[in-house]
């Protein structure tokens, strides 16, 4: 098609947007909100996944020791651990250190321990497993073996908790899909409606254009371009707003926790493209439905 015609189509679409700016701003706002909700879900999903992956990468195991453990028993435990593939002793926490950590964690409530004559906390080894999945580490077996050794009071590891967390992520995914689907239907309705209103407000002009010999596509294309512009704009704005929200939230979280315990990341490039493409595709589809319905009558 000729360049001049495209110039005409884009000009018409822009003029139309300016003329019906209220309708367009409302439509754009609703679209952005819908995309933002979807984007927030994506953001949470991505971060949960990252955290789980990171925790999965380094499973931890705590071995609590009896108070009266002998040095020999301790050596035996350390020797056993060193034989395990991919495991390493992160640190040994003595009874005093455990108490100090607990006091620090309790903060102002630390006064509870003032009258304590004996330290009730056990000493422990903190273990970390690198890539437990890849190395096929049988955590349950290790736990059982360790608990049979002298001087070990109890062994705890994070896997069970992790499994339930992964189930939660699946649920989260499902909810995300359902909400996303509903939102996309909403977006589709909004765009269809916006373009219908635009067509309706120009019905006299359309009638005259058709009477002087304009083909259907000549009349339709400016409305499709209008929908596309709305889609592109809302896609870009939604991503920008999501990023601003991310910056704001991540700074808040870091302040709240004192230290950046969790690595809060933004959605990757592919997901940004996904949001953008969904926005463009939906608005194009919406305007397509609108022009189709209007002109086939």
């Amino acid at each position: 098609m000729r360049f001049r015609l495209w110039f005409y189509f884009i000009k018409e679409a822009l003029v139309n947007i300016v003329k019906n700016r209220v309708v367009h701003v409302i439509g754009l706002g609703t679209m952005i909100i819908s995309l933002l909700i979807f984007g927030s879900f994506l953001l949470l999903f991505v971060n949960f996944n990252t955290w789980i992956y990171e925790w999965g990468q380094s499973l931890t195991m705590s071995i609590y020791l009896n108070d009266g453990i002998s040095d020999l028993e301790k050596e035996k435990i350390v020797f056993y651990i060193h034989k395990l593939p991919s495991a390493e002793v992160k640190r040994f926490i003595s009874k005093e250190e455990a108490l100090r950590d607990l006091r620090r964690a309790l903060g102002s409530q630390a006064g509870l321990f003032e009258g304590l004559s004996v330290n009730p906390l056990p000493a422990s080894f903190e273990l970390a497993f690198k890539d437990p999945e890849g190395n096929k580490v049988n955590l349950k077996g290790i736990k059982q073996k360790l608990e049979k050794m002298g001087g070990v009071e109890e062994v705890q590891y994070s896997e069970e908790w992790l499994r339930s967390f992964e189930g939660l992520i699946d649920l989260f995914k499902l909810i995300g899909f359902i909400i996303g689907g509903l939102l996309f239907m909403g977006v589709l309705f909004i765009v269809t409606n916006t373009i219908k209103l635009a067509i309706y407000s120009r019905r006299d002009e359309i009638e005259i254009l058709k009477l002087v010999g304009a083909t259907d596509w000549f009349v339709k294309i400016p409305f499709l371009v209008e929908g596309l512009i709305q889609g592109v704009l809302s896609g870009i704005l939604a991503i920008l707003m999501l990023y601003c929200g991310y910056l704001f939230l991540s700074s808040k979280i870091i302040c709240f926790l004192g230290i950046a315990m969790l690595n809060f990341v933004f959605i990757p490039y592919e997901y940004m493209m996904l949001i953008f493409l969904i926005s463009v595709a939906l608005s194009f589809l919406g305007s397509f439905i609108a022009v189709g319905r209007f002109f086939d009558i």
Binding site: R4, Y8, E205, I208, L209, K210, L211, V212, T215
Partner: protein
């Protein structure tokens, strides 16, 4: 009889002569424009072919045309043949079916039964983009003008060329030329509502003829105009007709029918009641 003031009379005569000259000049300009339009467009080719074949081509043919609007019969077995280059009036009382007939020739209404052939093309068989292309060959001057109030005169007229996707310099040139032809070049940046009824009518005509159509259809073009303006408008139609365009005008203005010796078709209750 000796005039009381010979000088004044002479002066008056001189003025009249100048007026005649001026009119002639305007007519000459119009003719020149017309000729340019004809040479540059299909009109030339059409004329050329016609001269050689010496045979009138049938432009509009209606066969057993019926049109129902619900229970009422708007058109009842219309059979009509209009040749290329004819100038035809369609007349009859209100509700006789004049407008319906014109709208059907234009493809705006579909017949309940019967066939319409425009330049050999059956309207029943075409739709969508083909119909659009056909309409580019038919100029229609609507009873209510159908001008866009938010577009200027120039934009209203050029709209008919915009839809063809012609390059802009061509559109601009031709719009100017057509506006000059209808005598509205000086009002090109006005809006339709700032114009008088006669001027709006001329804008509508300019839009109808800018594509140099094969057929020009006008529905009550002199409906609310005074006799002088009516004459102007009719001159414009004759001017277009002299280019080779087939002109069909629906009217119930008796004065108009008396004037010329054109073919006149009388409609009554949706039937052809007579022909002159």
């Amino acid at each position: 009889m000796i005039p009381e003031d010979p000088l004044a009379t002479l002066f008056q005569c001189g003025n009249t002569f100048l007026d005649v000259l001026r009119t002639a000049q305007v007519d000459a300009a119009r003719f020149r424009n017309m000729f340019q339009l004809r040479v540059s467009e299909r009109g030339y080719e059409r004329l050329h072919n016609k001269e050689f074949s010496k045979q009138a081509i049938c432009m509009i043919q209606l066969f057993h045309l019926y049109k129902n609007f619900g229970p009422s019969l708007a058109l009842n077995d219309i059979n009509l043949k209009i040749d290329e280059g004819e100038f035809v009036f369609i007349t009859g009382p209100s509700g006789a079916g004049k407008t319906t007939l014109l709208r059907m020739i234009f493809g705006e209404e579909r017949p309940t039964s019967g066939n319409i052939l425009i330049n050999g093309v059956n309207l029943n068989r075409i739709k969508g983009s083909k119909l659009a292309l056909l309409r580019r060959n038919i100029g229609f001057v609507f009873q209510d003008f159908k001008l866009l109030p938010k577009k200027t005169v120039f934009e209203n007229v050029s709209l008919a060329l915009e839809v063809t996707g012609e390059p802009y310099p061509f559109i601009r040139k031709k719009t100017h030329r057509t506006l000059r032809l209808v005598g509205l070049d000086h009002k090109k940046i006005s809006y339709p509502l700032q114009l008088s009824g006669g001027e709006q009518q001329r804008v509508a005509i300019a839009r109808a003829i800018i594509q140099s159509p094969l057929i020009l259809i006008a529905d009550e073009p002199t409906g609310n105009l005074d006799p002088d303006l009516t004459r102007d408008i009719m001159d414009l139609f004759r001017c277009v007709h002299s280019k080779g365009t087939t002109v069909v005008i629906a009217t119930h203005n008796r004065e108009l029918l008396k004037e010329g010796a054109q073919r006149t078709i009388f409609l009554n209750h949706g039937r052809v009641a007579g022909e002159k």
